[in-house]
Symmetry: C2
Subunit: 231 residues, 2 copies
């Protein structure tokens, strides 16, 4: 499996620019030298000398690392390694308009997978405030008269579930994926025969008020079943 | 929720370099002008003129987009928008050694969530070949005598489940997360009182041979319960 992973990071040599190569060397340097967040990394000129490339190329590679949130420039201390922001690269590209139909479909499936599996985090961390928030959304949805209001309630409900899971990385991931979800929800709302899952938002809330985490995954599967039918 | 998402992309102005600003403008340009994969984007010099910045700054911003797999240079055609590789940014930073303890914990939770929810994709796409592969791993695990062999089987088993789900983005995500999983598995294997879930790999395979998708989520929850206890 290590092997599998390494393959993904390989690129045909011909397509690698100088900046690509320097970037790859810097990643390796950081890992191999066990540089830790907060540690300084060598200066631009030192790196250029060590790698035998121009300072411009080094600057370009460092700029990428900065974009990923891997390094930061500190006054007086120069460049230091920072705690990388794991979602920074993702949020720059996940706009549904430029995603391939295939990838969009896969990300939507990923959402289904996440929501079916979300129960244990929610049960471990749910609060009364969260549950009241869900109640209010269900009530708003019941009174909604337009399709737009209903879609808004749908998205609010599911976003609140991620919030309840108390995992910032996961919540952030969902927020980044949201335009993809919105795209699918809007698309499906235009279908003539949109079926509705046999488990409603109100049913899910009832389960969340209980302490029966075991009921959650299959209730969510039923709730999402119209989407699963498109698999 | 749109609002939430926009907030994540905001940065204190003072910390934005010229390249950051040009990069942000290019993202906006691509979305607003509805540029599609395969379409050409303006040349370096044209962009520099339009933005009133040096060509070096434009080159730096373009280099970042290239790193994300958003643009590509084609001989004769100049730069074109490509189908972005959604995992490219992520795989550059997800090395457990440089991740914060908190983020590592959150990514591990994400794994638990994914595996509990994975059932429907697996049931929709499982093949005889996959099931035989799981059988072989279970058999190898039964005969394993060393801790290293057992960990290897553990990772192989779960990786195969992702493979069976037939979703490249998800599989790729798991592959990127693998070093984090390995880290946790190794850590847990050193604990004196590692409890074992009441549902074994062999039990999971039995469920997968059946056509009862409803049993999967709770069986996986029980299988992963020693991890859930750390929540």
């Amino acid at each position: 499996m290590k092997g599998d992973q390494d393959l993904y990071t390989l690129q045909p040599i011909a397509s690698l620019t100088m900046a690509d190569q320097v970037e790859a060397q810097l990643h390796e340097y950081i890992i191999k030298r066990a540089i830790r967040p907060g540690d300084a990394i060598p200066k631009e000129q030192e790196l250029a000398d060590a790698l035998g490339v121009s300072r411009n190329v080094v600057r370009e590679a460092l700029s990428r690392l900065r974009m990923l949130g891997l390094i930061d420039s500190k006054k007086k201390r120069g460049m230091i390694l920072t705690r990388p922001d794991v979602m920074k690269g993702l949020e720059r590209i996940l706009h549904p308009a430029i995603l391939d139909e295939q990838v969009r479909k896969q990300l939507f499936e990923l959402r289904l997978v996440l929501e079916v599996g979300l129960g244990d985090l929610i049960f471990a961390r749910k609060t009364e405030v969260h549950l009241k928030k869900l109640d209010a959304i269900v009530e708003r949805e019941r009174k909604a008269t337009t399709q737009i209001e209903k879609i808004r309630c749908e998205l609010d409900f599911h976003s609140t579930l991620y919030e309840m899971a108390g995992n910032d990385t996961l919540k952030r991931f969902q927020t980044i994926l949201l335009p993809v979800f919105e795209y699918v929800v809007e698309y499906e709302s235009k279908l003539q025969h949109t079926s509705v899952g046999s488990v409603t938002h109100a049913d899910l809330v009832k389960i969340l008020y209980s302490n029966n985490a075991e009921e959650f995954p299959n209730a969510m599967r039923k709730h999402l079943s119209p989407h699963f039918q498109h698999l």
